[in-house]
């Protein structure tokens, strides 16, 4: 068995244990309705990966503009595609939580606005990729757009919620400090973050390999 296979099985066990722990190891947190606080173990990793994928896409875009290697363009595109998936998951889990806690799936809270705009950015990025025929031009134009979008995200994530009012609970947790937070929560949340990041890395490497094969076949077809 190769190391990659071992890691794959480990990831499976790890994620299964994390999911079980999320439901049986921790107690529902105070101040949240019913069992709703458990969604943090799934919502936060999804949001984190959506942002991480966005970061990878931007770093790959900058590298593409510097080195002009198709490999970097593939990385940026695959990360953006996965980022869109995880942003959708973060949005839906967040909406379920909002329905239970605040009574409505969607109320344009600044945090919801920022994830919705992240979704729009990913969708726009993929739409741009679909609209440019020439591969090299597609790579450089989408790299430029990814960087431009990356510059706007901090305004949404950090500036908008600070200036205007937000219901999102994480600012409350931050001001209270980590001591009042149940240590079991931190353990399971960290485990879940690590597990889902592993899942993302696995999906990402598969995606990059598929795209690299596709590119090679395309070039072979052109050479024939």
């Amino acid at each position: 068995m190769r190391i990659a296979d071992v890691l794959k099985w480990l990831l499976l066990v790890w994620l299964a244990l994390t999911i079980v722990a999320a439901f049986f190891y921790v107690h529902p947190a105070e101040g949240f309705i019913g069992e709703s606080s458990r969604i943090v173990f799934f919502h936060v990793p999804m949001a984190w990966i959506a942002v991480l994928a966005f970061l990878i896409s931007c770093v790959a875009s900058v590298r593409y503009l510097m080195r002009r290697e198709p490999k970097d363009d593939i990385r940026a595109a695959v990360a953006a595609g996965l980022g869109l998936l995880f942003a959708v998951l973060a949005t839906t889990t967040g909406a379920v939580f909002a329905r239970i806690m605040w009574g409505a799936f969607w109320n344009w809270d600044p945090r919801q606005t920022s994830i919705a705009i992240l979704l729009l950015i990913y969708a726009a990025y993929l739409a741009l990729r679909g609209a440019v025929g020439d591969p090299e031009r597609r790579a450089s134009l989408s790299a430029v757009y990814a960087i431009l979008a990356f510059v706007t995200v901090p305004f949404l994530v950090f500036v908008v919620p600070r200036i205007y009012w937000s219901l999102h609970p994480d600012t409350i947790i931050n001001t209270r400090g980590a001591n009042e937070f149940d240590p079991r929560y931190t353990q399971v949340l960290m485990a879940s973050l690590a597990g889902f990041t592993g899942l993302f890395v696995w999906l990402y490497t598969i995606g990059c390999r598929i795209e690299a094969i596709r590119l090679r076949r395309h070039q072979e077809a052109l050479d024939d």
Partner: protein, 226 residues
């Protein structure tokens, strides 16, 4: 430096002359804004909205009209060059930095002309009273500038894509939404007199203007020459 400025002014001057011959962008922006304003004014009018909601809701309407009018016409600057096949000549004639700056100046003229016409008219038709007028004007100037910077680089991107019309709005809106939020909150604050929110909105728009200027100036040569 002076050469760059002279080239940029030449590019902007050429665009303005060409624009005044056909008035495609001006008509698109101005007539779109007027039509929407007429529709809003007819359906909402000065008395439909409760007094407490007025500062915020009218700010929303104002900026939606400005943004969508901008999205209707500000892509012309680059799309025109590709459609009339003059872009390669412009690439030979001027440096990328001069082209970017010239096109930005052209878009600035368009957006400020639009605002100069639309904002007073909106305030009169909707009975919108602004309490903190000087700060509101600063917000308008900064907001118009940031809007022009973002739409200039996006127009340059979509001019090189296959489908241009819809793509301009699709690509611009996600980048413009934080700006839209700042401008709406700032305008609402200017209308109801909360100087603190207005000041933080102006700071946010100002920092966005600075960052967007630097990033688009740095990235434009890639879009233009590739």
């Amino acid at each position: 430096m002076w050469r760059l400025l002279a080239e940029a002014l030449a590019v902007a001057g050429k665009d303005l002359r060409a624009e005044f011959r056909t008035r495609v962008a001006l008509n698109a922006l101005g007539l779109f804004a007027l039509t929407v304003l007429a529709a809003v004014s007819y359906t909402v009018g000065p008395y439909r909205i409760a007094t407490a909601d007025r500062p915020f809701l009218l700010a929303v309407l104002l900026w939606i009209v400005v943004f969508f009018a901008a999205l209707a016409g500000l892509d012309r600057s680059f799309v025109k060059e590709e459609e009339s096949h003059t872009a390669p000549l412009l690439r030979l004639a001027a440096s990328p930095a001069a082209v970017w700056f010239g096109k930005l100046l052209f878009n600035l003229v368009l957006i400020y002309a639009l605002m100069a016409m639309l904002v007073p008219l909106f305030c009169i038709l909707m009975g919108y009273r602004i309490v903190l007028l000087p700060a509101f004007l600063a917000l308008l100037v900064l907001g118009g500038y940031t809007l022009a910077v973002v739409t200039t680089i996006i127009a340059a991107i979509i001019a090189r894509a296959l489908t241009r019309g819809a793509l301009f709005s699709v690509l611009s809106l996600p980048l413009l939404l934080p700006l839209l939020i700042f401008l709406i909150q700032g305008t609402a604050a200017a209308a109801d007199g909360t100087a603190e929110t207005l000041a933080s909105s102006i700071r946010a728009v100002f920092s966005m203007a600075g960052i967007m200027t630097i990033v688009s100036a740095a990235l434009f040569p890639v879009v233009w020459t590739d």
